[in-house]
């Protein structure tokens, strides 16, 4: 199974009050500076939709969003293009991109802090990865290797999305805090 279109969402710690206008400003600055690895195009504000994508920074190769999907606030990286490399490398790319964005947010938006112990991985493509037992089984080994080998974690848990209509994916909980700086600079 060759994964593509991996999304990674790193949850926000606690329940901070995040001002949407400030988030929009941060994303607008990123576009102005074109300072991420992707071509950044526009900001879409969906704060009026409960448990929605929140504020989305739309890019050509990927979108970033400070979203509240599933009722949990977090920074999501959604890879929209096909990537080269192993499945674990694609997971790492998504996680690293999300972690870098989290670090920037923490620097530019004081008061917000992202979890170093909990994140979500999903495959945003139902042809490649329908949410079936087989796919979950395949993902299990891929996600396990990624967390163990790429993130260096030995004590972790994966909780899978079981609704067959939703994207295949898992919430990953690790016991040792992940070093975002290390992941970002690796």
């Amino acid at each position: 199974m060759e994964l593509q279109h991996v999304t990674a969402k790193i949850f926000v710690d606690g329940a901070p009050s995040v001002d949407a206008e400030t988030v929009v400003k941060v994303f607008q600055t990123w576009i102005s500076e074109q300072s991420m690895n992707e071509l950044l195009i526009d900001v879409a504000d969906y704060e009026h939709v409960p448990k929605g994508p929140g504020i989305v920074l739309v890019g050509h190769q990927a979108d970033y969003s400070l979203d509240n999907m599933g009722g949990r606030l977090g920074l999501r990286y959604n890879c929209k293009v096909a990537r080269e490399g192993s499945n674990e490398e694609k997971c790492l790319h998504a996680f690293r991109s999300a972690a870098k964005a989290c670090l920037r947010f923490e620097a530019e938006l004081p008061g917000i802090r992202f979890s170093r112990n909990e994140f979500e991985l999903a495959i945003n493509d139902r042809a490649i990865a329908p949410n079936t037992d087989d796919t979950r089984e395949n993902c299990e080994s891929i996600f396990n290797r990624f967390v163990r080998e790429q993130l260096g974690q030995s004590d972790f848990q994966l909780a899978y999305e079981s609704d067959a209509r939703r994207l295949v994916g898992a919430v990953v909980s690790v016991s040792v805090a992940i070093d975002f700086d290390g992941v970002a600079s690796a």
Partner: protein
């Protein structure tokens, strides 16, 4: 962009109707040809628009970041339309005829929203869905997935017959004489791709209403509006339609005029076909701003328009589809899935409020409709799936979208109302206030539209927030007002028919551009949008909330008992209401003191007009000749692919088809009624008009290329070898080239007809 596009093609093979599969294959080939530069960009733009693939703001590769316009560094590729960059994301409009959907379609919409867009599905003011930030390379796959659940995007945009809208309460409304659903359904599929509806200078919008008094179908603002009427004839109750024509909003709004007070059902399809033919033949093609049907009626007068349509109607060849559907008129009738009941006692004020504002009794005892009010017409993939579950549990399996950007659930047993509310609440879909002041309608505006001047959605979100704070204390008179916002004068937010409408404008103040909204008063939502409001004053965007407060408070304080807003505006006068607001246009703050005044709602960038582009609402004027020739060249390309695959017979057949199509393109510029269904006629007409007259003769090669056509047609049944198919493809290409040359010669000589 998606890695799985080929996977979907194979996975969905056999699960799509042949017709839709063929159309989508054709579009995919057209994308390929355009990417190779083999199709003109203007032709391709109109081609994709007619497939629902639309441009979006910044797709010219420029974006103002508040400090000036900057390039968005997309990769160098060909364009997908004039000034439209290939990789720039666009919008996909998905037609939902009369708003009717089932649970499986909702689930498909959820999947597509999640996988291809920015995560939000949007419902439009014409009952369509829109997905934003879509890459053009993904559009054929999206179309295939939609087709697998019976949805097409064909003619969702461009100069075509747009979505046939219809009253979402059709079939269950106590005020309708009969259900308009089967008629709207029949018109949708009769006009879809109809050859007589392909040559417009602009779009053509039909609509069906079940009654005169409500606004659910908005017949008065459509090119073709049909309202259900029953007459007693010879002691029998007979169905028919009041037909109005030439309505429309936009910069120059027109109320539709009565074309026929009672048109029998068997005549609605041929009459629509005749109107399409007249509009195609005589409608303006060059001046885009005068190309809607309303302007043809302005120019001719209603009587001449009627004469022309009736004359065209008399000439139409009989088509069994005009009446076939009438023999099974109840085929789409919905039956309840659960027994009717009685409304239980409600002790929760929030639920009671929702019941009061969002449910309506059906004409069938024991049932209600329930409106799902969506903020700005938006919802998430998870909400779509939850809604699909709700539809399956509480209804016969369907629902409707509405022109107020909501959903209507039908056939809800009164006994289920509390359980339904709970299910909707679990999905965050239980907002009260459907169709009242909280339920603000807004077009996409500057969020995504290339024509947007001000942020209609930003303003709508702000007003919703402001109103939500005091929603439980709002005076009933205010609660029942309709607020609608457009980002520019084109009125996609339908500001003309709101009690209080706003449309985007701009003014220069203190040396800066400042986003404004014109305040539009006097419009009427009822009676299918029975009258249009007029702008009274332009106010800076950031002061619109204050303006709304002042207008509504003045109304509450000064209205006579039970006086509705539209007559109130008429009685008080616009001068007085303008006076209430005019100070809001003055006292501009210094930029340094209040920079937010110089930005729009939800957008911190310093306001600018630099991002406004050329809109695609009006499509591209592409002649039938250009479309036909593009198709001929595509078919030759497909023949080449088949030749490479060893399908010699099919390759030879396609090569001949391309030649006939090119011949027809020439014939049609002199003789509009030639039909492709009859290739013998095409050949005969081509011979008479272009061969015998030598008009098609090449200046050097004489009749050579035309002879290829006749020879190939003579041998149309022959078995093809690789060599013969190869030769025929070459001849086909040469013939197509000769047609282009011929067309250029006759254009230059001015001898088209």
């Amino acid at each position: 962009m998606k890695a799985s596009n080929n996977l979907w093609t194979s996975q969905l093979d056999g699960r799509i109707s042949d017709q839709l599969a063929s159309e989508i294959d054709t579009f995919e080939t057209e994308i390929e040809l355009r990417s190779q530069g083999k199709v003109d960009e203007k032709v391709f733009a109109e081609t994709r628009l007619r497939r629902g693939v639309y441009g979006q703001r910044y797709d010219n590769g420029k974006r103002d970041d508040g400090n000036g316009s900057k390039d968005l560094p997309f990769a160098e590729k060909t364009t997908k339309g004039p000034g439209t960059i290939w990789d720039a994301p666009g919008m996909m409009r998905i037609k939902i005829p009369y708003g009717g959907m089932n649970a499986a379609q909702l689930e498909m919409m959820a999947d597509l929203t999640e996988e291809y867009s920015d995560g939000i599905a949007h419902i439009t003011t014409r009952q369509d869905f829109q997905l934003h930030f879509i890459h053009i390379d993904d559009t054929p796959t999206i179309m295939r997935r939609l087709a697998s659940v019976g949805i097409t995007t064909r003619e969702a945009c461009g100069n075509s017959v747009r979505n046939v809208t219809g009253c979402p309460f059709a079939g269950v409304c106590p005020d309708e004489p009969f259900d308009v659903t089967p008629y709207a359904h029949a018109m949708t599929y009769f006009l879809l791709g109809h050859p007589d509806a392909q040559n417009f200078g602009r779009k053509f919008k039909p609509s069906f209403s079940g009654c005169h008094q409500h606004a659910c179908g908005l017949a008065q603002m459509h090119d073709l509006g049909l309202t259900a009427v029953v007459r007693e004839i010879d002691g029998q109750q007979v169905r028919g339609f009041k037909v109005v024509v030439g309505g429309g909003l936009g910069a120059v709004p027109r109320q539709a005029k009565e074309f026929d007070e009672f048109l029998p059902p068997e005549e609605i399809l041929p009459m629509a076909q005749a109107m399409a033919k007249v509009f195609g033949k005589h409608g303006e093609k060059e001046k885009r701003s005068r190309a809607r049907m309303k302007f043809l009626i302005d120019k001719w007068g209603l009587e001449k328009f009627k004469e022309e349509v009736l004359a065209e109607r008399a000439k139409l060849r009989d088509d069994p589809r005009w009446t076939d559907y009438l023999t099974n008129i109840d085929a789409l009738e919905e039956k309840p899935s659960r027994p009717g009941g009685e409304l239980p006692a409600i002790d929760d004020p929030a639920i009671q409020k929702w019941v009061d504002t969002n449910t309506r009794p059906q004409r069938q005892d024991g049932y209600v409709t329930a409106t799902v009010a969506l903020p700005l017409g938006d919802l998430t993939p998870d909400q779509l799936r939850q809604l699909a579950d709700i539809v399956r549990e509480f209804t016969p399996g369907t629902l409707r979208t509405t022109v107020e950007q909501n959903f209507v659930l039908r056939w809800v047993s009164k006994a289920d109302v509390l359980a339904l509310y709970k299910a909707l609440d679990d999905a965050d879909l239980s907002d009260a206030g459907a169709s009242n002041i909280m339920d603000i309608v807004a077009c996409p505006g500057t969020d995504t539209c290339k024509l947007g001047i001000s942020s209609s959605r930003g303003l709508a979100a702000q007003l919703r927030t402001q109103l939500a704070v005091k929603s439980m204390q709002l005076d009933t008179a205010i609660e029942n007002l309709h607020v609608k916002i457009s980002g520019c004068f084109n009125s996609c937010g339908q500001h003309h028919v709101a009690d209080i409408g706003f449309y985007g404008a701009t003014r220069t103040m203190g040396g800066y551009k400042v986003p404004h909204f014109q305040v539009v008063l006097g419009g009427q939502w009822e009676e299918n949008g029975g009258s249009y409001g007029l702008p009274i004053v332009a106010i800076p965007s950031k002061r619109i909330p204050t303006a709304l407060d002042r207008i509504t408070e003045y109304y509450v304080q000064n209205r006579e008992s039970n006086e509705r807003f539209t007559p109130f505006v008429g009685r008080v006068g616009k001068a007085k209401l303008r006076q209430l607001l005019v100070d809001l246009t003055e006292n501009v703050p210094a930029y340094d003191h209040e920079p937010g005044f110089f930005s729009d709602w939800g957008d911190p960038r310093l306001y600018s007009l630099d991002d406004i582009g050329k809109g695609e609402c009006s499509g591209e004027v592409v002649t039938q000749y250009e479309f036909a020739m593009t198709a001929a060249e595509r078919i030759i390309f497909e023949a080449q692919v088949k030749l490479e695959d060893g399908q010699f017979q099919d390759a030879g057949r396609d090569a001949l088809t391309a030649m006939v199509k090119a011949a027809k393109a020439l014939v049609q510029i002199q003789y509009d009624d030639v039909t492709e269904d009859d290739p013998d006629e095409v050949i005969d007409e081509f011979r008479e008009r272009y061969y015998d007259t030598e008009v098609a003769f090449d200046p050097f090669a004489g009749s050579k290329f035309a002879d290829y056509l006749f020879a190939a047609y003579e041998e149309k049944g022959k078995r093809h070898t690789e060599d013969s198919a190869h030769h025929l493809i070459e001849e086909s290409q040469l013939f197509v080239e000769s047609v282009h040359s011929c067309y250029n010669r006759i254009r230059t000589a001015g001898i088209e007809s």
